[in-house]
């Protein structure tokens, strides 16, 4: 077998536009952690995960323990768990509010989120050693391209301070702005399904935006995701207004019990990346038919094989599966595409933040054709590390002290009185 000779864990900051959500607004920079697993033969495997300090610390503690081991993945989660417990005592911070967007915050999920980056890197390295794409190591692709959904955001035109990252998308704060954003997404990337991040404005305004999208793109799949902002009655009002228009509602309300109540009273499917985010949350949610689509995030479910496990559980219970996206770079987009290509019955386009991230650490960032990414048959993930870019983004991390995702703090730069809302907001 192939042995691991070196492991590198590199924190970086990537620029992010002023995208709005329930918690606040994206910061100008957000942390990510980049993993390199290098074999004795010189093959390099790449992984990527969240960059908040606690994730980074676990990754930095675990990385050296991989050196000298073989390129296999089934033991990773258990091994990372040791680090999580050891690092946890001093450093875990359970107060990060922005992470409410990722559902519950548990040691299990931090373990999985860190482990996933190493799993992806090991699979990538193994693919390079063998000359095989990662999908073959996952049993082989069942499709040749993976469809993604345009991720529409209410947003400001720019961050508040001079010199912060900017772009030419302009503001989107009403139905017209959302439709204009969708038209550009469709034109430039070919997306044919659209997801609007909601929870920003009162529900009637967001319903109006989705209706405007429906008029502009009749027959196209549309989704609205307020990150659990609504009460059960509000969710049901929105559902009634969007039946026949939306493909599904994503996390209209918070908690499995509330989701189940909404699900019982609407024909619209409910999707989640908040109330079912780890295996231990599945039995209750499936028993109560609280969700009809689980949006897997391979980071916090624990990697690509864990995503296949989740797909098996969903398939067994007749629950749909698709993919959640958090601000990510090309390594994770490649990983998402590889695993998605292996999952039978993937009927919904996956989420991606991709068009919003203009920076990357891979030499050739992915391109969308008709809203889809072709499944690479090149060895490993099919991406190559841009070492100059990695160095520059790490240098930014050294220079700028952003160490966690905190959308509420970013919002307070403009609205000093802002506090992240309690649930339900509406």
């Amino acid at each position: 077998m192939f042995r691991i000779a070196d492991v590198r864990v590199t924190p970086i900051l990537i620029s992010d536009p002023p995208l709005l959500n329930l918690q606040g607004v994206h910061q100008p920079y957000t942390p990510r952690t980049i993993i390199q697993v290098i074999t004795a033969n010189g093959a390099v495997g790449l992984g990527e995960t969240y960059g908040d300090t606690d994730y980074l610390r676990v990754a930095e503690a675990f990385g050296p323990r991989l050196v000298g081991t073989e390129l296999t993945v089934n033991r990773l989660t258990a091994e990372v768990a040791h680090c999580t417990r050891e690092v946890e005592v001093d450093h875990l911070d359970n107060t990060v509010q922005a992470e409410g967007l990722r559902g519950s915050r548990t040691l299990t999920k931090i373990t999985a989120s860190v482990g996933s980056a190493f799993e992806v890197a090991v699979l990538d390295a193994l693919g390079h050693e063998l000359g095989l794409p990662v999908h073959v190591l996952l049993g082989g692709k069942v499709r040749d391209s993976v469809s993604y959904s345009a991720y529409l955001f209410y947003r400001w035109a720019e961050h508040p301070d001079p010199g912060e990252p900017d772009d030419d998308w302009g503001a989107a704060l009403d139905p017209e702005g959302v439709v204009a954003q969708a038209r550009r997404m469709a034109r430039d990337y070919g997306f044919t399904s659209f997801k609007l991040k909601g929870g920003v404005f009162p529900p009637e305004q967001e319903v109006a935006a989705v209706r405007a999208l429906h008029e502009a793109f009749p027959g196209h799949p549309l989704r609205l995701d307020p990150n659990g902002a609504w009460s059960v009655p509000t969710s049901l009002e929105v559902a009634a207004q969007l039946e026949g228009i939306a493909e599904y509602l994503e996390d209209p309300t918070s908690g499995t019990e509330n989701m189940a109540e909404v699900a019982r009273k609407t024909s619209l499917p409910l999707a989640t990346n908040m109330c079912v985010t780890s295996f231990d949350e599945i039995p209750e949610a499936f028993a109560t038919d609280a969700v009809q689509v689980v949006l897997s995030d391979h980071h916090y479910w624990g990697g690509l094989r864990a995503t296949q496990d989740l797909a098996a559980v969903c398939r067994t219970y007749g629950v749909g599966i698709s993919m959640h996206s958090n601000t990510h770079l090309g390594i994770s987009l490649a990983a998402m595409t590889q695993v998605a290509s292996t999952i039978p019955g993937l009927r919904y386009a996956c989420d991606t933040h991709r068009p919003w991230q203009t920076e990357d650490v891979v030499v050739e960032p992915h391109t969308f054709s008709e809203g889809a990414i072709a499944v690479s048959d090149a060895p490993g993930l099919g991406v190559e590390l841009d070492t100059d870019s990695l160095a520059a983004l790490h240098q930014r991390w050294v220079e700028i002290p952003v160490r966690r995702r905190d959308d509420a703090a970013a919002m307070r730069r403009v609205h000093p009185e802002w506090v992240a809302p309690s649930f339900p907001r509406w």
Copy 2:
């Protein structure tokens, strides 16, 4: 990628001792199907599955369709399903009573049972091409040996007709005979846990046998499996007598509803390879807590990746997993060992018929050490085809017209009035 240049499907008959069960007695010969997948580079992958005529016909229809394709497995089940539907119209025989021992009999399961043999053969071939053991293709082993349980049977000393296969185990028809058999199993193979195939004698006699085993092997895990022969009240009486003695009861009664009723009223865990034998049977069984251990048979669950899928579902729902065994040769024992080595939380010793099968189609049959088999790190499954043996066992298939497992017919050779019992028998 590696392309498949040739596929060979070979029916064989293997000898089998006169082992008793609810349906009757094992025939002197039982059919198996051996698969060879040969790549353009000359690598050979081996697979093995049931040999009853309908399985064989589906395998023979599917084999040629693999030629020219790549060595990947995720599409196999869907592709075999086409053959199953096409062959089904004329040839499927839903009346084979002996198959009651394998649970429900559906197209899905026949598809899975045939597909599994091709999946194993493809993984074996891929392993040979890459120089990697199958477990690495499944994500890597999490243990270095796999424990098996001694499979004790009530049995006759010999088959009724002269010239039929024989051995020196002698009869076992009472507690003393069962204990003697267990002692030889422990001495020769090192088994430390014991399963008795029940459903042969009235329950009190089988309870007496398990109690005798408990006295002979105090503290060792013991199991009793009457293949669903008992009513709910009988199951509960047996359970009451074996609490603190048996590790679990396997299929004491027939059907998920009855199993659930028994499970509610005993502290003994219930295991099954009859009421949960495919993914569509899981939700009802888990919702009613009908089974605490699922015994996977990688043949009828659909292969090694499907076994990992099943393990993921069980893990998610807190249900135990172990492995069922049907009369098998070294190819399937290698496959069972490879996949079992990758499954976290495998707490129960797996079943194997192995000591009862003295013939094999691999050059070096497996040996047990302390009741366990070391996980091979050699390429593929780590077994090599004995082509002479395969040819001889195929020649036997040509000469002897046994085309399906039929334990009731075998029993009628001695007891002409025998009919397979209706449920519950006791």
